[in-house]
């Protein structure tokens, strides 16, 4: 009897669950009608603070980029473009001059001028601000030349200072407002120059913004912009299907496939500048210290197949660790071609004809990818034990030099200059270095200190050739960004993955 009742309930449940796919398109018209002039964007976590100079995380930046502007920006082709500054040039080795727009006001009416630039950068670099943003640490002094001209004097030459002012190092904050109301108030009630004005913030739930009609590029098309926090991806997908959310962000390939079946949702895949690779710790004794072994590993993994199967095609193969859009990438350098025979030969040459055993660390969210890589390595006799952990633990282990000989890592070259990709990894005294090479050290010095772009390009090229030859990494791919968007929303994501919604509109 009892089992019959149980069976009955199971059947009821299955029937109910079966209804899900058949009947999901009913209310779509109703929901799209009421959201004509407002847009809801969902991301997995909330901002920690709304003070743009006291944050350094994606969720914070995604929200703040809509309320604040930076000195420079990037155009559709990812070239440097005017922002709050219209012109910029290097006057000498250590001075960059910026000419400012004259028609810009903060949301509280305060004018934007050279004094505001000086205040902003001084505040950013003031130790009391405890800013996690390190981009403009090279700036020694900000000199006001006239009301709309300002010089940034650096302690040593900084060839990519303009690139850095595109990021939150170049964000401009209102001097009088902050002096009057104080830092704490500003962090709760931000005032910027951006296309949207702050309305309200309900922590871990949503940030609401309204259009700034006086925006210097013209008012945005949407009247209201809301950033919702939905930590669970399944919930975010559900909310996108029901139309509660217009744009779902940071989707994984499996979730994107699931959303594609919904006729109200477009899944958009756009190139990002985030590159991924397996770091090979060459500093420890053992097989990994041999260059032939490292080359063999690069030949042994069929990256193309991993992209097509595990990542659903949503990634581009890269030769080294520089994404294709960044300044300094040498496109004549080709990625390793999958060749299992060559891999075996190289291993035998290095004295490991039967392979060896090793370990690999990775974020547990990347489990599918790293297991595919481990399986590929297994085919040439390299037996890999995969250790999965949460992202923070992985970062900690790497920083404390406690990670396994192999670990899976992603890196965004924020400045869109290869300098950013190499900075923390290539030179032997850097934080995440796992490969000591005197030649590379010399080349990094050249590209970091010279302002001449030809000299720099040349140094970048040589580093990339060296990377292929020495193979201190197992080179993989740059990932695409995946978004789920209501059919009637028009918006183009940028390569950095920061959610700038100024150009978003509804058809």
């Amino acid at each position: 009897m009892k089992s019959k009742v149980l069976a009955f309930f199971l059947i009821v449940f299955l029937v109910l669950a079966g209804c899900t796919s058949s009947k999901s398109k009913d209310n779509s018209t109703a929901s799209s009608e009421k959201k004509r002039d407002s847009l809801v964007v969902a991301q997995a976590s909330d901002a920690g603070t709304l003070d743009p100079q006291k944050q350094g995380k994606m969720p914070d930046m995604n929200i703040l980029i809509n309320m604040f502007d930076t000195l420079l920006t990037r155009d559709e082709n990812n070239k440097l473009a005017p922002g709050l500054a219209t012109e910029w040039k290097a006057i000498d080795d250590t001075t960059w001059q910026f000419k400012l727009r004259k028609d810009v006001k903060f949301h509280n009416g305060e004018p934007f001028n050279a004094e505001a630039v000086k205040f902003s950068i001084d505040r950013l670099n003031n130790p009391d601000t405890k800013s996690p943003i390190v981009e403009l640490k090279t700036v020694k002094e900000v000199v006001v030349i006239d009301e709309y001209t300002v010089n940034l004097v650096t302690s040593a030459s900084d060839p990519i200072l303009p690139n850095k002012t595109v990021l939150f190092g170049g964000v401009m904050v209102p001097p009088n407002y902050i002096k009057e109301k104080g830092d704490d108030y500003f962090a709760q009630h931000p005032v910027g120059t951006g296309p949207y004005k702050f309305v309200s913030w309900q922590k871990d739930h949503q940030v609401v913004m309204e259009a700034n009609p006086d925006y210097f590029r013209g008012a945005p098309k949407m009247k209201k912009l809301t950033f919702r926090v939905i930590p669970n991806l399944a919930d975010m997908v559900a909310a996108t299907k029901t139309g509660e959310v217009d744009i779902a962000t940071s989707l994984t390939p499996d979730v994107a496939t699931q959303l594609k079946s919904d006729s109200n949702v477009n899944v958009i895949s756009t190139p990002w500048i985030r590159t991924f690779y397996m770091v090979i710790d060459t500093t420890k004794e053992g097989p990994m210290a041999k260059k032939e072994v490292r080359q063999a590993m690069n030949y042994a993994v069929n990256v193309k197949q991993i992209i097509d199967t595990v990542l659903g095609g949503h990634a581009q193969r890269v030769a080294t660790i520089v994404p294709s859009q960044n300044f300094g990438v040498d496109k004549s350098i080709k990625p390793f071609k999958y060749n299992i025979e060559k891999a075996k030969k190289l291993l035998a040459q290095a004295g490991y004809p039967d392979g060896f055993s090793t370990e690999m660390d990775a974020n547990n969210l990347d489990v599918d990818i790293v297991q595919a890589i481990a399986a590929e390595l297994g085919k040439v006799g390299i037996k890999v034990k995969v250790n999965l952990m949460d992202g923070a633990t992985l970062t900690n282990n790497i920083a404390a030099k406690k990670a396994s000989p192999l670990y899976y890592l992603g890196n965004t070259g924020w400045t869109m200059d290869a300098l950013s990709n190499f900075q923390s990894y290539i030179k032997s005294d850097r934080r995440y270095n796992a490969w000591k090479n005197a030649e590379a050290d010399k080349l990094v010095d050249i590209e970091e200190q010279s302002i001449d772009s030809k000299t720099r390009l040349d140094a970048f090229s040589q580093i990339q050739k060296l990377l292929i030859d020495e193979s201190p990494y197992l080179f993989l791919y740059q990932l695409d960004g995946l978004y789920g968007m209501s059919k009637d929303v028009e918006w183009k994501p940028n390569v950095m993955g920061v959610l700038n919604m100024y150009n978003a509109s509804i058809k």
Partner: protein, 305 residues
């Protein structure tokens, strides 16, 4: 009675100090927040600088001493991620968590008490079997799975309720049900078995023999005697509700303390994790005290000196 409460309060202080100590050291075993806060291109000097600003350059014992000193002065520290006092961050989100836990408790009791009573009285009938089967399912399903199923049915398929977030009652109903389901099942089961036991005892036979109305027999004599274990479990379960809200809040995007704790752990935001744990432990201790005092009301034979 008063001296009993005083004694319990003094015990509570030691319990909370113990909890604080465990929270302090376990948090520090998980790693270095500075490595997570700063971008990969930060230099070693920048890291050391930030570490010094956060007071994390001192020996662990000194840090612990400072932590306890601050704690007894009710200074719970600042969150490194939010840059605000941890206590205000938590009290800001506590109402949402209490609202959710409270609603779950009410839903659980409203369903469980009648269901438990009726199935005890109608023991062995189809109703009893039905209730017991549902209870079995309710106890076996993990809360996150129930949550996703509810969203799939009520939001995506039928478009009756919003998928998540906070707002009116329509936002509350699914997470409260999902969170309360386990408790509902547990209490139904417990009340049923303890009522069955009471109904077969001698004083009930006497009461019936006296010719009392069945309603009075059950309501006044049987039910009151079978409530004691239920009250104990409800008390313990309120603690479980607060803990369970961590999962439920994440599934339903509910902006409460649970969601914040997950974030704080991911960011190695030590001060925030510690304060949240101490506060939740404090609530647990208080609930336990209230439960113990309730015993006196329910069972006059119990007395505290």
């Amino acid at each position: 009675m008063f001296s009993y409460i005083l004694r319990r309060c003094i015990y509570a202080i030691f319990v909370l100090l113990g909890v604080a100590t465990v929270a302090f050291f376990i948090a520090r075993l998980t790693g270095d927040p500075v490595a997570i806060m700063l971008p990969p291109d930060a230099t070693v000097e920048q890291m050391n600088h930030l570490r010094a600003q956060l007071g994390m350059d001192k020996p662990l014992v000194v840090q612990y001493g400072m932590f306890i000193w601050d704690l007894v002065h009710f200074n719970m520290g600042e969150s490194i991620r939010y840059g605000e006092p941890t206590l205000s961050l938590i009290t800001e989100r506590l109402p949402a968590t209490l609202e959710l836990a409270g609603a779950s408790l009410i839903i659980a009791l409203i369903v469980a008490i009648p269901a438990g009573i009726i199935s005890a009285i109608k023991r062995g009938t189809w109703f009893d079997r039905l209730v017991m089967s549902v209870v079995l399912i309710g106890q076996s399903m993990p809360v996150f799975w129930v949550g996703i199923l509810l969203i799939l049915l009520f939001s995506v398929t039928w478009r009756l309720l919003p998928t998540g977030g906070i707002g009116g009652w329509e936002h509350l109903i699914m997470p409260a049900f999902a969170l309360g389901l386990h408790m509902m099942a547990l209490i139904t089961r417990l009340l049923r078995s303890s009522l069955i036991e009471a109904l077969s005892s001698d004083y009930i036979r006497t009461a019936r023999a006296k010719g009392l109305f069945p309603r009075k027999v059950i309501g006044k004599h049987a039910l009151r005697n079978s409530l004691l274990p239920v009250v104990t479990i409800v008390g313990l379960q309120i603690g479980a509700l607060l803990g369970g809200s961590v999962v439920t809040e994440v599934v339903f995007a509910w902006p409460g303390v649970g969601q914040m704790i997950i974030q704080a752990i991911n960011n190695r935001d030590f001060a925030l994790v510690q304060t949240a744990i101490i506060l939740l432990a404090g609530i647990f201790v208080i609930i336990n005290l209230i439960v113990d005092l309730l015993y006196v009301v329910i069972d006059p034979r119990i007395q505290y000196k």
